[in-house]
Symmetry: C2
Subunit: 300 residues, 2 copies
């Protein structure tokens, strides 16, 4: 393993977790992260941080760097040959208190094997309980700007990939308004791909704190909270049924509490719930589809 | 297909759904089932009935009889050759209002193919939010009595099978106190296996109405409701991550709302929640393990 590369990447991700947690505590103006250090029996470990805050109802920011021999089922799932590996990254899910504030997910990760194989992966995607078209468009334009600094085809490729990935096949709806998703990225080279992953990781705080500030003081009532719980139910469905990362972790003996920190504090299911025609809720559902050109939308 | 057999089995399951719904409405003393009739594009359909009641917070009783050509992915999952099939059955999950009343699941089903292949499957299992040892033991003794009328090895085999099946591998805990589970049953012959499935189906109402009556008026507070929501979260995890029936249905384009009627009205997740030592909640967790000889327990 190229210790030089991987050590600096691990160090960077650990520092990124620190920076993000500090910024989120400031933005929450009340909550403090609780930290759990854990070790993986086969090698490596992580720092799981969870906040139950004033504005962020439940937020998880996980750093891990696991290494050792690749277990056979994991190698099969990843379609790599078994052998020593390193996997490191930062993974975040935030469930806000106010239903007007969107749920967000961010992940940046690096994978390396003894045989010289390596790649970066990650992404950011937004799940508004209520779609605000101008904000969703702004969010995508920010992501496009990040991508465009690295390669003109990154945004269109990774935006489409997010549409495909964050899709509830059994509901025929996207998890939210998407974002970007990339995996097994080796372009243009290790330094360049790392620079892109850093840029994605560092865009998270300004993106989310902006969306938090814009929406955190908007009024809401029981109707909006019930809708929030139903949308969180869909989030649970996506993560437990379709999310490859979650299933890979649960199947291969990952740390359950760190993996499932992505689940909301409270979620509801109501049989065959149909929002009223032309309601805000119905308009949100109509936006939960693949292929919306969010960055190109002409919004006020 | 042996129309004689399958028609009478379909008719029986449809009538069983009627009988069970009638009995549950009486036991709920307030709620009424809403019914949705649905058709499967490939052939057959079902009657989904859902109740939001006074004692049963959310209850689903589904009947279906689907037939036609077996889709390729379904054939692969079932390890059968593609060809005309019939699958019919009744499936129930009840989430009670009072945390002192257990969640229950019952299913009886029949599968048949054009090539002469057939089997019965099903089971009943109990998921108390709070384990009452005497009641769990009583529940298992009733199931044992049902099984013993058909074959002396049915209860031990199907009890162990339920322990294995209703297991959250990522939590290393059983979903509840188990019950019986059987699949691909062809013993002693079609008439005999059908008689057993009928006996299981008909044991459901007396079993659950007894447990409901025993517990429905027990007092509870916010602490018990919060624990109930956390246990329901585990129920969601089992159904979405591990339950083969749920995943098979979602993967092969089953009717989503009928499949997911098993999910609770409200569920909670709290990071790394640990109940107080020696609390009722901690004692419940200690019972959620495989291999407890419930029917043989010496309880008052």
């Amino acid at each position: 393993m190229s210790a030089l590369h991987s050590e600096s990447i691990v160090r960077y991700f650990r520092a990124l977790q620190d920076d993000i947690c500090r910024a989120l505590e400031a933005a929450d103006a009340g909550g403090r992260f609780r930290e759990d250090l854990w070790e993986r029996p086969g090698g490596g470990g992580g720092r799981t941080r969870v906040l139950e805050g004033r504005r962020i109802g439940k937020g998880g920011v996980n750093f891990s760097a696991v290494e050792g021999a690749m277990p056979e089922p994991a190698a099969r799932a990843l379609e790599v040959s078994p052998g020593p590996f390193l996997a490191t990254g930062v993974s975040i899910v935030l469930h806000p208190v106010n239903p007007r504030v969107p749920i967000i997910h961010m992940n940046v990760r690096y994978f390396e094997m003894d045989n010289g194989l390596w790649w970066f992966g990650g992404g950011i995607d937004l799940t508004p309980h209520y779609v605000d078209v101008a904000q969703a468009s702004w969010f995508h334009r920010q992501l496009k700007a990040v991508c465009d600094r690295h390669h003109p085809n990154f945004y269109p490729r990774f935006k489409d990939w997010a549409d495909e990935y964050f899709f509830l096949k059994h509901r025929q709806e996207t998890r939210g308004v998407g974002g970007i998703f990339f995996d097994r990225l080796r372009e243009p080279d290790r330094e360049g791909a790392f620079a892109f992953a850093r840029d994605v990781g560092e865009s998270f705080v300004p993106l989310y704190t902006h969306l938090l500030r814009e929406n955190q003081d908007l009024p809401y009532g029981e109707r909006h909270e019930q809708w929030q719980r139903l949308r969180r139910g869909r989030y649970v469905e996506f993560n437990l049924v379709w999310d490859k990362g979650t299933r890979f972790g649960l199947d291969t003996g990952g740390r359950t509490e760190s993996i499932l920190m992505s689940l909301p504090p409270l979620a509801a299911w109501q049989y065959d719930y149909q929002p009223e025609a032309d309601s805000e809720e119905a308009r949100t559902l109509a936006w939960l589809r693949k292929g919306v050109d969010w960055a190109g939308l002409d919004t006020p």
